[in-house]
């Protein structure tokens, strides 16, 4: 069957997919923000790996990824910079196709690879959804109402295109699979050779981008703190353990049955306490990013239940101000502590220095 299909030119096969594909591609394009909207033709051309589409595609991915990263770009950013950024961002999000990284830096080729990357981005960091959410028109704020009209309308059309796209998604993914098929057919032999060559490239782990530096720095700091904490805890624990053992040895009552029941209860309660702690630690991730809509809500949610389903859906993403306040208080306390520690450090060092000052005595406040 495969052979028979190969006899037909690819384009014909395309058309056999039916009218849904252009609609799907069109909807997809329309669902993208206006600043980065490709022509459906670009995707088509990319599917056949036409070099003319490469520059457009690089630009498209560049703009989209910049938006996701909350970064700024200008029209005049050079193609080299665009290519570099796109490659880095795709790496960052975990796109691991080596062929992409090997694409030429002047953006002259690789539209098919880019198409694959684009489709991957649709799924993996949820490109469309993120863009829609990020570029959401702020209806509560200071935009002048006129342009708000336009913004709202364009956003609504985007959303409707998104819905349309959702309907037509399967067609698109099948189409992408054919792209993969083609690449599989063509590229197998030469790719493996290249891969072997490439892997010899960077044996050393020295980071080559500031992001990695920053991350490594954070990791170092974190591990230092954790290690310090661990030592401190270790000390405390051994102390207390020793003391406890003494007590157990000396005091008869602790060895009786009665205490073991209390001991068990204590154990359970401690476990609960610790579990609460660790879950708190874990839950911090999803917090406090981005804009929130302020909602005045009384402390008694019961009155809202009349709205039924609506409320339950709304309640999902809601965060109460009291929690945030608590969070912030905790954070404030810890920051204060950190600041005091730093100052203490300075004091130590300066005291040391003060001893070297001749003829002068330093009296700290």
């Amino acid at each position: 069957m495969r052979g028979r299909q190969r006899e037909q030119p690819r384009e014909q096969r395309e058309q056999q997919r039916g009218p849904a594909l252009p609609a799907a591609v069109g909807a997809l394009c329309r669902a993208l923000p206006p600043s980065a909207r490709p022509a459906p033709d670009t995707l088509r051309r990319a599917r056949f790996d036409r070099p003319q589409a490469s520059l457009d595609f690089w630009k498209l991915l560049y703009v989209l990824l910049k938006q996701i990263h909350g970064d700024r770009w200008t029209e005049s950013d050079a193609i080299g910079a665009q290519v570099r950024f796109v490659k880095w961002a795709l790496w960052y999000h975990g796109y691991g196709r080596p062929q992409l990284q090997r694409l030429p830096a002047d953006g002259s080729a690789g539209s098919r690879e880019l198409l694959l990357a684009f489709s991957w981005l649709l799924h993996s960091p949820g490109l469309l959804e993120q863009l829609l959410a990020r570029n959401r028109v702020q209806t509560g704020d200071e935009t002048s109402v006129c342009t708000l009209f336009q913004l709202l309308e364009s956003e609504t059309t985007q959303l409707e295109a998104f819905l349309e796209w959702k309907q037509l998604e399967p067609v698109y993914w099948q189409w992408m699979e054919t792209v993969l098929d083609d690449m599989a057919e063509e590229g197998n032999m030469c790719e493996s050779q290249d891969a072997r060559v490439e892997k010899r490239r960077l044996p050393e782990v020295t980071s080559c981008c500031p992001w990695a530096d920053k991350l490594a720095g954070q990791m170092d700091r974190l591990s230092r703190e954790l290690v310090a904490l661990q030592e401190q805890l270790q000390q405390l624990v051994t102390q207390r353990r020793a003391a406890w053992r003494e007590k157990v040895a000396t005091r008869e009552e602790l060895q009786k049955e009665r205490f073991s029941a209390t001991a068990r209860r204590t154990q359970e309660s401690t476990e609960l306490k610790l579990r609460a702690l660790t879950s708190l630690c874990a839950a911090q991730k999803t917090r406090m990013h981005g804009l929130y809509r302020l909602v005045l809500r009384s402390k008694h949610p019961a009155s809202k239940t009349a709205l039924g389903q609506r409320v339950s859906k709304e309640a999902v993403a809601a965060v109460s101000a009291a929690e945030v306040i608590r969070e912030l208080q905790v954070r404030e306390a810890s920051l204060q502590r950190e600041l005091q520690q730093l100052r203490q450090q300075c004091r130590h060092r300066l005291d040391g220095i003060a001893e070297g000052l001749e003829g002068v005595i330093c009296i700290s406040p």
Partner: protein, 659 residues
């Protein structure tokens, strides 16, 4: 000279052509709080050392600067090169108050900085708690500029934030006052937004214009008699759509006899952070073809100021002023090329009753100011007045307005009285409401829409296939860099939280049970810490293996991370992303506390960052011993800055016994 090259720590990537090609825009990098000093490129240093030669410097510092090359990317604790530079002149020891001493230092450093080149551009926008944590890129520059740049950036951010807050506060205050006062004040806050109105009409001018309007009305009446038949049709129409406002686009389609409503008049009311409630109701009016293209009308109105008329109710004048100011506010100039969209009626129909009370013969004088598109205004005719009255009744606020209008002799704006009183009755203009409801429905649908089963299946198939071609075939084993970062972010708070717990454990438990409990808790915490360490180790390994594939990049990539990075494995649920997160508060006090805390936290971040930077710069100044005689004052200044936050200072007492 800008040392941009040093921030691109990449050893293998293409370097910038020369360190001189600076001017790259500063982007706020979420730098670690200590402001990592990337090593300066070797090209940059020779210049510095030239400058350094000029003043007395510690020789050993200078030597260290040269061979420092690229491989040293991690911050070495202090940039000795910068330290040498950072020595302020001995004058610094003047200040008895730490604050002054600090300023002196800064100035001194600033001078040094001047020698080192143009200041880095820093984006001084205030941000949320995460913002000030970032010491801007400029501060990263090894060299004397770092602390100066950091301080300057902090100052800039603070000033910017304050300006922003003041602006907002002023706006909110303007909104919250009684709206009759608003007319006077409106022109000021709005002057920023209006570009085409050259001056704010004084009350006298307004009255004059009022007279002019009346004159024009008479002219209109003359015309009306000509177009009588069409007017009747319009009257009928007027009754129908009293209170409605059609979409602006219809204006374009209109032909001569067909009256079309234009976009309703509304003021630009700046909303605060709450939901928009505040715009006026639409006022319908007719569009008259003959006047649309008549430029003379405009010119006449401009010539008004000559005459001085003091009669006429002040209300009319006020209406006018409102109209004018609201015209100012309206940014129609940027409207969708609906040049045919014109504004006829400016005033609020609600005022009709008030008007009719105070001046029975008073026609509603509608005058719309010009907007940049040079739209004409037409003067209303009888039909307009009728329509206005009807719409007035429709809008239903007339009764209230009448009271206040009568009482104060002023015409009622949609909200005489405070925003608080009237706000809940206000409604937004209809086209906006339509667009808004359509938009929010679309959002709802999008949020609720689920990926169909075949779509999900097709997508997964594609994903699996493509993932087999990846370097790391199994995403579970090797998280993506984005995921690594996310995990790390989650771990950041752990040490401080655990430390809290540790500290909250009683040092001397009273009962045996307490002692046992405390023991168990501590042991549990210890386990948690080792788990975290293990996790950290895994993350580090993952990062290293990912970095093997890291593409060549120079400094201009990858400085910001996306705010939301879902794990690779799971499908991004549309609902989660598309729902706008809500922050529920139950009282104003909560909000106040919240924002105060936010500010406090971000200030602390900033302080810590600055502290670290200054530690790195100032301490090395004092370290080499023996210190010179004159540095006692320097020592005091540094001590007060670093240890007391510049608030108190140590006392230095000369040790007389030595003599």
């Amino acid at each position: 000279m800008q040392e941009r090259s040093n921030t691109s720590g990449c050893g293998t990537g293409p370097r910038r052509p020369s360190p001189l090609s600076g001017g790259r825009e500063e982007r706020e990098a979420p730098k670690a709080a200590e402001g990592r000093a990337a090593s300066p490129g070797p090209a940059g240093h020779p210049r510095h050392s030239d400058h350094r030669d000029a003043s007395a410097r510690r020789p050993r510092r200078r030597g260290a600067a040269g061979p420092r090359g690229r491989p040293e990317r991690r911050r070495p604790g202090a940039a000795p090169a910068s330290a040498a530079r950072a020595t302020p002149r001995p004058r610094v020891l003047a200040g008895p108050r730490g604050a002054r001493g600090r300023r002196e230092e800064r100035r001194g450093r600033g001078r040094a900085d001047a020698a080192c080149g143009p200041r880095p551009k820093v984006r001084g926008r205030g941000q949320g708690p995460a913002g000030p944590r970032r010491v801007p890129r400029g501060a990263d520059r090894a060299g004397p500029c770092r602390a100066a740049a950091a301080l300057r950036a902090a100052l800039g951010e603070g000033a910017e934030r304050r300006r922003e807050l003041e602006r907002r506060a002023a706006r909110s205050r303007a909104l919250l006052r009684r709206w009759d006062d608003e007319e006077e004040e409106r022109p000021q806050p709005q002057s920023g937004s209006s570009t085409e109105h050259e001056d704010r009409p004084s009350p006298k001018e307004l009255e004059e214009l009022e007279l002019l309007n009346r004159a024009l009305e008479k002219a209109l009446k003359v015309r009306e008699s000509i177009l009588k038949t069409s007017l009747e049709a319009q009257r009928a129409r007027g009754q129908k759509w009293a209170g409605e406002a059609h979409a602006p686009k219809k204006a374009e389609e209109q032909q001569v006899p067909v009256p079309v409503e234009d976009v309703p008049e509304y003021r630009k009311v700046r909303t605060g952070s709450k939901k928009p409630l505040l715009l006026k109701k639409p006022s319908p009016y007719q569009l008259r073809a003959p006047y649309r293209t008549d430029p003379d009308v405009k010119k006449l109105q401009r010539k008004v100021p000559a005459r001085c008329v003091s009669q006429g109710p002040r209300t009319a004048g006020k209406i006018f002023s409102k109209a004018v100011t609201s015209k100012q506010g309206r940014s129609h100039r940027t409207a969708t090329g609906a040049t045919a969209r014109e504004v006829c009626a400016a005033a609020e129909p609600q005022e009709t009753p008030g008007l009719s009370e105070s001046a029975p013969n008073e026609q509603q004088s509608f005058y719309g100011g010009d907007s940049a598109a040079g739209k004409n205004s037409t003067v209303a005719g009888k039909q307009l007045l009728d329509a206005g009255k009807k719409s007035c009744g429709f809008l239903g606020e007339s009764s209230k307005k009448e009271d206040t209008a009568g009482a104060r002799g002023r015409s009622a704006s949609p909200g005489t009285g405070t925003l608080q009183e009237k706000g809940c009755q206000m409604k937004l203009p209809v086209p906006y409401r339509k667009a808004y409801s359509r938009n929010s429905r679309a959002w709802e649908r999008c949020r609720l829409c689920r990926t169909s089963a075949d779509a999900a299946a097709a997508r997964t198939r594609f994903m699996e296939r493509i993932q087999t071609t990846f370097e790391f075939c199994s995403p579970k084993l090797t998280p993506s860099p984005a995921e690594i970062e996310e995990e790390l972010r989650g771990l950041q708070d752990v040490p401080s939280r655990l430390r809290q717990y540790v500290e909250s454990e009683p040092a001397d438990p009273s009962t045996l049970q307490e002692e046992y409990e405390s023991l168990l808790t501590l042991e549990g915490l210890r386990t948690t810490v080792s788990q975290c360490l293990q996790k950290l180790q895994l993350l580090r390994e993952a990062l290293e293996s990912q970095l093997r594939l890291c593409p060549d990049c120079t400094g201009d990539v990858g400085s910001c991370s996306p705010a939301c990075v879902p794990a690779r494995g799971q499908t991004c649920d549309s609902a989660d992303m598309l729902a706008v997160p809500l922050l529920c508060y139950s009282s104003l006090q909560e909000l106040r506390d919240l924002f105060a805390l936010k500010l406090q936290v971000s200030m602390l971040h900033q302080e810590i960052a600055l502290q670290k930077v200054m530690m790195a710069e100032l301490l090395p100044v004092l370290e080499p011993r023996p210190l010179l005689e004159g540095s006692a004052g320097l020592f005091r200044a540094i001590h007060s800055q670093l240890c007391e936050g510049g608030r108190r200072f140590p006392v230095l007492v000369r040790d007389e016994l030595l003599d």
